[in-house]
Structures are given as structure tokens and as C-alpha cells.
């Protein structure tokens, strides 16, 4: 097949592209320039798309023998990922920008352009597996549970999955690093990137404060309704958060308090004991299905954060989304997070959490 490998300049995408070439595919490499004013170096594991990354990607492509190009997607990234991130936060939701990037950049803008240019598939270094079953291409978890990235790929449609290759899904990170070393890929020991790539110093709250106009407001005890403190702006808070509240021990009972609700309109942060965070029903909207829809009442597993656990649940598909009922209570679910649904290792689909509640 004629495949387009997206090379970030890191180890994973380089090994993925090399494996695709070994498998006999005709590989062309692209580096996605997502930042308009790239920094020259990456500091530690943070940031992305630096000039150094672009050079590393070029060197990796060269070793594989793949022609290399840089695609400027900075305008799309700005609009679909960064602005979406700011807008979600300013409405009191907690988005996952990596998921948004996969949804609108890597497997939409890039994949569509690749298909139009005559490629059959896009190859990336994500840890997930595409398994071609009787119902077409299915997205499955990677075999390395520590690295599994199927959660951030949960937004992919069946059509997108059928044109994607994830050659690392059946390997562990350790194996991939060793392979990079053996192949002489120079970035074999480069640290993994994590955090949010467009916030290079890792200070999300500080970054958001510069983007969003915030005003101080009240912190209110959800159980008593009393004001127990002030905050610098409700948008910077996420349900389930404890750090950054700076309240000490507001109620004097020695129990820790968590953010249990964020009301951006009234600029109120509600706090309460952890038990108030325990929910068992999740409502989610804008579902994206990776294959056939689940039948109502079907037993599934659900994951609500990137490195979260997989929790047993049942699902109902409704007119505007899904209602997921968990078998056990789950602590700290914020609106805006994605609920990715699984059947065994297979991704069924994902939806954006709009509300969660507790039903006894």
C-alpha cells in the first residue's frame, strides 16, 4: 500500500514508519507543523513541533528511505485544538486536546488530504491495534496496558480506522525503544512527550489565565451552602481537583475537600467531601462510533480519562447521546471529558460527558 507516515520526531512514530516500510508498504513521511512559531528545542518532555523535532523526523525518514515533507497545519491546530481547548475551559468543561487533535487534525485533515493525494492509509506511532474483523476494521487496545492509547483514538470513525495503521499496537514501549536502538534511530532515548504540547511550561492554569478573562469568585461548601473562601476564576477548576484550593481545612473536621462542581456562569466553585464526587450515571453527547452501535442495555466497559481504569457499565443510546450506568461508583468525573466505550478490547465509540449524577 501507499502509506503516509506522520513523524513527530519521536521514537514511536519513527519505529512505526520503519515497520510499515519493512512490511513492504511504500512509505512517504510528513512532519506536521502545528505551531506557527516553533521553538528551537524541546525542553525535557514538554512542548512539541520544535525545529529539533522536525530535524529528528527528517533524519528518521531518511534512515527509512522515505521522502520527507513538512505539512503546515498550524492554522487548523490553532482553530480546532487550541481555541476549542480555551472555549471548553471557559465554559467550565475539561477537554482532552490530544483527543481533539486526533479527531480533527491527524485523522481528519491529514487523512483526508492523504486520501485525496492518492495514499491508502495513514501510519502513526499510537499504541493501539486495528484488527480487520468480519464487520470491517476494528480499533482495539494495545497489548501494552501502560501505553495503550486507544482512549485518545476513541473519536475515530469506522471509515477512519479502516485507513489507519498503528504498527506499535502489538509491542511494549520497552520493545519499541530497543528496536529503535537496533535500527540506529537517533532519537531512541528521547523522552516521551506528555502533558499538553502547546503549553510548554506545563502550567495549564497559568496559561489558561492568560487566555481567559477570569474574575475572583466564591468557593462554597456544597453541603452547607456557606461561603468558605474565594478563587481566582472558576474556569481554572476541574471537578475532582483538590490542589490549588488553598482552603486549609475549611470545616474543621479534618476531612479533605474536593471541587465537586464548577459553575462558570455564576463563577462559583463548589467543594465537598470526596463522597459527593461519587457518581454512577454518566450522560454524554456527540457520540462518535467506531463500528456498529451498541444495543440498549448492553454490558460494556467505559474509560473516562487517558490513563483511567476500564469500568464495567451498561449503555443506552438516546436521541442526543448516550447514558452510561456504572456498576460501581466512580469518583470525580468532569464535564468535557470523553467517555470511551469498550467491548472487551474493542473500542465501540466515544462521547463527550455533559453531566454525571448519582442514583442509588
Amino acid at each position: 500500500m501507499k502509506v503516509l507516515a506522520a513523524l513527530s520526531g519521536g521514537v514511536d512514530s519513527a519505529v512505526a514508519a520503519a515497520r510499515a516500510a519493512d512490511a513492504g508498504h511504500d512509505v512517504t513521511a510528513v512532519h506536521l507543523a502545528l505551531s506557527r512559531n516553533p521553538q528551537s528545542h524541546r525542553t525535557g518532555a514538554r512542548g512539541c513541533c520544535t525545529i529539533e523535532d522536525s530535524n529528528d523526523a527528517f533524519r528518521a525518514a531518511d534512515m527509512i528511505g522515505a521522502p520527507f515533507y513538512v505539512w503546515d497545519l498550524s492554522a487548523e491546530f490553532q482553530e480546532k485544538v487550541i481555541e476549542d481547548f480555551i472555549s471548553e475551559y471557559s465554559q467550565g468543561r475539561t477537554p482532552n486536546p490530544c483527543l481533539r487533535c486526533n479527531e480533527s487534525i491527524k485523522f481528519e485533515a491529514v487523512l483526508e488530504r492523504a486520501m485525496a493525494l492518492g495514499f491508502d492509509a495513514v501510519v502513526t506511532g499510537h499504541y493501539a491495534q486495528v484488527i480487520h474483523g468480519p464487520n470491517g476494521a476494528e480499533l482495539h487496545r494495545a497489548i501494552d496496558p501502560d501505553k495503550d492509547q486507544s482512549y485518545v483514538l476513541g473519536v475515530m470513525t469506522a471509515e477512519q480506522i479502516s485507513h489507519s495503521m498503528f504498527p506499535l499496537g502489538n509491542s511494549t514501549k520497552t520493545e519499541v525503544r530497543a528496536e529503535a536502538e537496533a535500527r540506529g534511530i537517533l532519537v531512541a532515548q528521547k523522552p516521551d512527550s506528555h502533558d499538553i504540547c502547546f503549553i510548554p511550561d506545563g502550567d495549564t492554569a497559568g496559561w489558561l489565565a492568560r487566555q481567559i478573562d477570569t474574575e475572583p469568585g466564591d468557593v462554597i461548601d456544597a453541603e452547607t451552602g456557606n461561603k468558605v473562601g474565594t478563587h481566582k476564576g472558576a474556569q481554572a477548576f476541574t471537578v475532582g481537583q483538590r490542589r490549588g484550593l488553598a482552603l486549609g481545612n475549611p470545616t474543621g473536621d479534618g476531612e479533605r475537600r474536593y471541587v465537586v462542581d464548577v459553575d462558570v456562569k455564576q463563577n462559583i466553585v463548589m467543594i465537598g467531601p470526596p463522597t459527593l464526587l461519587d457518581i454512577n450515571v454518566i450522560e454524554a453527547v456527540n457520540p462518535r462510533w467506531s463500528g456498529p452501535l451498541p444495543v440498549n442495555g448492553q454490558d460494556i466497559e467505559v474509560q473516562v480519562r487517558a490513563h483511567g481504569e476500564s469500568l464495567p457499565a451498561t449503555v443506552e443510546v438516546t436521541a442526543d447521546g448516550v447514558v452510561i450506568t456504572l456498576k460501581d461508583f466512580l469518583r470525580g468525573v468532569a464535564a468535557g471529558q470523553a467517555a470511551v466505550m469498550y467491548e472487551g478490547t474493542r473500542v465501540i465509540g466515544s462521547a463527550t460527558i455533559s453531566r454525571s449524577r448519582r442514583v442509588s
Binding site: 512532519h31 507543523a33 516553533p38 525545529i51 521522502p67 513538512v70 503546515d72 487548523e76 485533515a109 485525496a116
Partner: protein, 370 residues
């Protein structure tokens, strides 16, 4: 040449191999001077066009400023290569200088009127003007003598980036009326990493790099003799073959242009029709991203270019096209085909064969949504 590489003498050394090396450099200097219509003493060898441009712009600006602190403006055309534009912007940011850009017309040409407009009512604060002889993207050639006639009225120093010119135009430094002129090895068929700044004797230039002062105290660093000899040789060859190649290549180019326009009637042929490098054909293909077309043609063995790549290799809409009045989208839909002394009819045929399917694919991939 092999002999030079095998016996590397330092041209600044006083022993025998140093003297030999020195002789090669001086002979090369004489050749470069002769081909470019300058005097040998005016040739300063550099490590390429970028360095020569930097010395030409900053060195002239600083030396003028030293003589007269009121001279705090640099004036360059909006379509200069980054080797001029970036140092000009850097000077602008330094607080020492202000930058005025000269507007170009729809063909990318600088007219004497546009230069006058940029100089403004009181040009006494202008330290240096730099306008390129020929544009590296759209191939448009400027009438430098007509422009220096304007700056001469005010006694303003003029630098020209002539990197693109010698292969296609007979350049005579002494006729241009400039203070300094840049040339580069790899644009005349010579090596990368070597170039020259031709500096008129009556022009002072403040050095950028300090050291042994090997080149007229303007430029320090041990000279790369083999590269310099190769640069001179390349210019000699260019001088011999130019008129013949200009006729041959411009005929090929004209054929390429009309065949491209037959395939893509909606394509715009950019740049000046007549005042143009013989080897340049530059198009806008509406609705196609230049990067997509480049990638598709590359896969078919046809090499071409989009604007000019910035440091990160991130394709940016071409500042040249934007300055010529193109929209941001049009500026990203361009492709440049440059021919050389080695280009053949078969090369043009290969492009024309590949182009229809490439354009079809490119149109399907379309433009970015934003």
C-alpha cells in the same frame, strides 16, 4: 582541484604551500572581478550569499551610522530573500535602526517611483538601501541602475543581492552604481558555502565578524581555497556559455509556460513577462496547495519548489507573492519550475506528462479549511 584538496595550504601562511594557495585565491579573485565587471581589490570572499548579504546590509548600515548618527533607516524591498529581510528586521528590532519596506508592483518589480516613496520626503536619515537584482522566487529582474540614479541624488549607499543573476544576465558591477553586490557559488553552478561581496573601494563597511582580517579587514576567517577556485571557475564557465544557454533555456521555459497554461487555463503565470530570468517559470494553481503539488511531482521524479522554506522547514505563504498583492490562499498555491544549464526537452516533457494527474489530485486535496 583535486590537487588543491590534497595540498591544503593556508593562503595566509608565508611558507611555500601557503604562497601557492594564496596565488590560487588571488587568481580566482581576478577572475571573479573580471566576470562581474569589478576590480580585483573589490572582491571579498565569504562563506556564501547569506554572509555576503549580511555584511552588505549591516556592514554598510553600521559604517554609515558611525559617520553620521542621524542615519538610522534601512530601506529594503518587500520581496528580498530572507538573507536581507531577516537582518533588516533584526536591525529594526535593535532600536538602532528603523526599517522601511519598498513596495513592489504586481510583477514583483521595484520602480524608481516606489523607491522614492519609501525614501520619503526627507531621505537624509537613510543609511542604506538594498534591492535585489533578480528575485529568487518569481524571477523578476530589477533595473538597478535606474534605482541607484535615485539614491545617488541623496548620496545614499546601495547594496544589491545579485545571487540569482550571473548565470542569466551579464552583470557589470561598475555600471550598476551600487556600493556592494552579493554573489553566491551555488547559484552559478559552483559549490555551496562560498560567495563574495563585491564592495566598491570608496565604500566603508563595518565588519560583522572580527578576527585575522584576511579579507580587506572586512571579513575574517581562513579562506577556503578550493571552494573559491571553484567559484571562479564556475563564473568563467557561465561567462562562456551564458548567451547560448539563455537562448536555449528561455525557449524551453517559454514552451513549458505555454504547455502548462494549456493544461491549466486557470493558472496564473507570476512575475514580469520580459524583465525576467531566463530559467524561471512561476505559477499560481488556484485551489491546489503548492505543497501537495510538490509532493506529487516529487514522487514522479519532477523537482520543483514552493516559496522559500523558513528555518523550521515550515512552508509559509510566500512573502514575495503576498507583497505582489496575492491573497494568502493564492500565495500558498504556487509552484516554481526552475531550469538550468543541464535542463533538457525531456525534462520539460516529463513535467508536462505528470502535470494533469498531479493537478487533478491536488485539486481534490484542495486547500486547508481555514
Amino acid at each position: 582541484m583535486a590537487e588543491l584538496l590534497a595540498k591544503p595550504g593556508n593562503p595566509s601562511s608565508l611558507h611555500a604551500s601557503g604562497r601557492l594557495s594564496r596565488r590560487h585565491v588571488e587568481e580566482a579573485r581576478e577572475t571573479v572581478a573580471r566576470v562581474l565587471g569589478a576590480r580585483a581589490g573589490e572582491v571579498v570572499f565569504t562563506a556564501g550569499g547569506t554572509e555576503a548579504d549580511n555584511i552588505g546590509l549591516k556592514g554598510l548600515a553600521w559604517s554609515e551610522r558611525e559617520l553620521n548618527p542621524a542615519k538610522r533607516r534601512v530601506v529594503v524591498s518587500a520581496v528580498e530573500h530572507h538573507a536581507i529581510l531577516d537582518p533588516a528586521e533584526w536591525l529594526n528590532e535593535s532600536d538602532e535602526f528603523e526599517l522601511t519596506l519598498i513596495e513592489v508592483d504586481e510583477f514583483g518589480q521595484v520602480t524608481p517611483e516606489a523607491l522614492r516613496k519609501a525614501l520619503g520626503d526627507d531621505p537624509s536619515d537613510v543609511a542604506v538601501v538594498s534591492v535585489m537584482l533578480a528575485n529568487n522566487e518569481v524571477g523578476t529582474v530589477n533595473d538597478i541602475a535606474a534605482l541607484t540614479a535615485v539614491t545617488r541624488e541623496f548620496g545614499i549607499r546601495f547594496h544589491t543581492d545579485a545571487v540569482q543573476a550571473p548565470a542569466w544576465l551579464a552583470v557589470k558591477f561598475s555600471d550598476l552604481g551600487v556600493c556592494a553586490m552579493t554573489v553566491s557559488g551555488h547559484k552559478v553552478g559552483g559549490p555551496h558555502g562560498v560567495g563574495a561581496l563585491i564592495i566598491s573601494r570608496d565604500c566603508n563597511v563595518t565588519p560583522l565578524v572580527h578576527g585575522g582580517g584576511q579579507e580587506r579587514d572586512v571579513r575574517s576567517g581562513t579562506l577556503d581555497t578550493p571552494a573559491i577556485v571553484a567559484l571562479a571557475k564556475a563564473l568563467e564557465i557561465v561567462e562562456q556559455r551564458r548567451s547560448q544557454e539563455v537562448a536555449r533555456v528561455s525557449a524551453l521555459r517559454d514552451q513549458l509556460v505555454s504547455r502548462v497554461q494549456e493544461i491549466a487555463p486557470d493558472a496564473t503565470y507570476n512575475g514580469h513577462r520580459d524583465d525576467r530570468l531566463a530559467n524561471n517559470a512561476h505559477f499560481t494553481f488556484p485551489g491546489c496547495l503548492g505543497d501537495s503539488l510538490l509532493m506529487l511531482l516529487d514522487a514522479q521524479g519532477v523537482e520543483c519548489s514552493v516559496g522559500s522554506a523558513c528555518s523550521a522547514g515550515v512552508p509559509q505563504p510566500s512573502h514575495v507573492l503576498l507583497a505582489m498583492g496575492a491573497s494568502a490562499n493564492d500565495a500558498r498555491s504556487t509552484l516554481r519550475f526552475t531550469l538550468g544549464y543541464s535542463s533538457t526537452q525531456a525534462d520539460v516533457d516529463a513535467l508536462i506528462d505528470a502535470l494533469p494527474s498531479v493537478l487533478e489530485r491536488g485539486r481534490r486535496a484542495g486547500m486547508p479549511k481555514s
